[in-house]
Every structure is written in structure tokens, then in C-alpha cells.
């Protein structure tokens, strides 16, 4: 068999995925905790206050990585949803539906921390500005994917419907990203781009550390949720019965 097919065949097998993801999860959590601890130390203790935003700039070390994650996870859901629909790879369906609550959690954090940053900086918790509104729409899309999955009795049909919704909802991602350029928004434009960044290294390092830490959080949490979903879906199958027998002895 072609090695690429063999790889997909193996990693797509639920018992294989369950076994090896279980070994990976503690390492992902460990890296997340180390990066977060160091990132928080640099962001809250070492980094200076901003000359315009003052101390409230420290909220950015949470807000920006969460906002990036909210978009990245939805993008990944759309890609995995496409693979799940085209090649009918079951593990991809499981990963799509397991990603949605993690993405929703990061979107909630991005919206709340943004709002708490906005009050001292802009003088208001909320405005119906294009960036804020499109991010709120993203949260509703996450809720929609979760609700759609739970509306079906048959898990595979449910996962396919959720995958389709992930693909359709991805149209919101460029709207969020370019909203600050397409419309006149209160939300400032991107501070980082292909042309570099104007952020001082003392602030950039904690920001990048926290952004990297959130990737590991997503990885660990996604795998935990995917393992749970597999157990729920396969509880009558042989591999789960064997697993239960092993655990009880």
C-alpha cells in the first residue's frame, strides 16, 4: 500500500488514534503550562505599560492570542470538514465537532477581554463596529455548529451536517480579518503583518509566547474531546469493550 494511504489509514483508525493521542496529551499540557507561565511572567511583570494604553495593554496578551485562535480553529474546522465530506474520513468528522467548543471558548475570551480593554481605552464596553460584530457572528457560528451536531440522532449524519456548516461559515473569516480595512472601524488595524511589526520586543515576546501556548492548549483539549467523542460513538464496539475490560482488571 502507498505509504501516504497507509499513514491516513492508520491514524484514522479510532483505536490507534485513541491510544496514541492519550500518550501525546500530557506533553501538550506540559508545554502549554510552561509557555503560559513564562508568557504571563513577561507580560505581567517584565513588559512595560504602553505609552498610550497604559497598564490595560496587559489585557492584549490574552485578547490577541484568543482572537487569533478563534479564527484559526474555525479555519481548521472548515479544512477538516472539507476532508471529512470529500474523503469520508471519520476521524476528521470527530475533530471538527471536537474543535467547536474550544473555538467557542477562545471567541468568548476574545470578546470579553476586548470589551474589558475597550472600557478604559475607548470609553465603552461595546460598539457595533465591523470587527466586533463579525467576531460575535463567529461565536454564533460556533454555537450553530454545536447545536446542529446535537440536533441529529445519528452521529455521522450530524458530523457531516456540522462539517458542511463549518465550510459555509468560513466565509466570515476574511470578513473578520479585512473588516478593519474595508470599513471605518473603531477597532485598530493589524499591528503585525507581512511587512513586520511595530511592537517593541519587550511586548512582542510575551505576546508570541502566549500565542504559541494557546496552540498547545487547543491541541491537548482537542485530543481530549476527540477521545471522548470516539468513546461515546463507539461504546458498543469491540475496541471500547476491550478497553473497559483492561481498565477494570
Amino acid at each position: 500500500m502507498n505509504p501516504i494511504y497507509l499513514f491516513f489509514h492508520k491514524t484514522g483508525s479510532p483505536p490507534w488514534f485513541y491510544k496514541y493521542s492519550g500518550k501525546l496529551i500530557p506533553w501538550l499540557w506540559a508545554v502549554f503550562l510552561i509557555l503560559t507561565a513564562y508568557g504571563l511572567y513577561l507580560g505581567l511583570v517584565v513588559a512595560p505599560a504602553d505609552y498610550q494604553q497604559g497598564e490595560s495593554v496587559r489585557i492584549m496578551y490574552l485578547h490577541v492570542p484568543s482572537a487569533w485562535m478563534s479564527m484559526m480553529i474555525y479555519g481548521l474546522m472548515a479544512i477538516m470538514g472539507f476532508i471529512a465530506l470529500v474523503w469520508r474520513i471519520r476521524i476528521m468528522e470527530v475533530l471538527v465537532i471536537s474543535s467547536a467548543p474550544v473555538g467557542a471558548a477562545f471567541t468568548v475570551i476574545a470578546l470579553i477581554t476586548g470589551s474589558l480593554w475597550g472600557r478604559p481605552t475607548w470609553g465603552t464596553y461595546w460598539v457595533w463596529d465591523a470587527r466586533l460584530t463579525s467576531e460575535l457572528v463567529l461565536l454564533f457560528l460556533y454555537f450553530g455548529v454545536i447545536a446542529l451536531y446535537n440536533a441529529f440522532d445519528e452521529p455521522r449524519k450530524a458530523a457531516r451536517a456540522a462539517s458542511l456548516m463549518s465550510i459555509v461559515g468560513a466565509i466570515n473569516l476574511p470578513i473578520i480579518y479585512f473588516s478593519v480595512e474595508w470599513w471605518n472601524t473603531l477597532h485598530q488595524g493589524s499591528s503585525m503583518g507581512s511587512s513586520g511589526t511595530g511592537i517593541h520586543p519587550s511586548m512582542l515576546l510575551p505576546l508570541l509566547l502566549m500565542a504559541t501556548a494557546t496552540k498547545f492548549f487547543y491541541g491537548a483539549n482537542l485530543l481530549s474531546r476527540a477521545r471522548l467523542t470516539l468513546l461515546k460513538q463507539d461504546h458498543r464496539k469491540r475496541w471500547v469493550q476491550d478497553l473497559l475490560s483492561k481498565e477494570s482488571h
Binding site: 475570551i109 470579553i112 468513546l231 471500547v240
Partner: protein, 47 residues
């Protein structure tokens, strides 16, 4: 205006949301495994 309550609030709320996201699957998995084990034990008894 003091920024401290906003910073503390932002970090506290984020911690709560992330803790929930991290621990929900762990708690659900334990409860599911308990249910499945009980069911298997009942089936073994009835056989």
C-alpha cells in the same frame, strides 16, 4: 481611571473559561466510563 479591575477581571474570566474548556471533557469521560462499566457489570451478572 484605574485599569487594575479590568485587567484582573479579564484574566479571571479567561482562566474560568479555559478551566471549563480543559476539565469538561475529563469529567464527562469519567462519568461515561463509569456508566459503561456499570452497564457491562450488569450484563455480566444477567448472563
Amino acid at each position: 481611571m484605574s485599569h487594575t479591575p479590568f485587567i484582573v477581571g479579564a484574566y479571571l474570566i479567561s482562566a474560568v473559561v479555559l478551566f471549563w474548556a480543559a476539565f469538561a471533557p475529563v469529567i464527562n469521560k469519567r462519568s461515561l466510563l463509569r456508566q459503561l462499566k456499570n452497564r457491562q457489570a450488569n450484563m455480566d451478572k444477567s448472563q
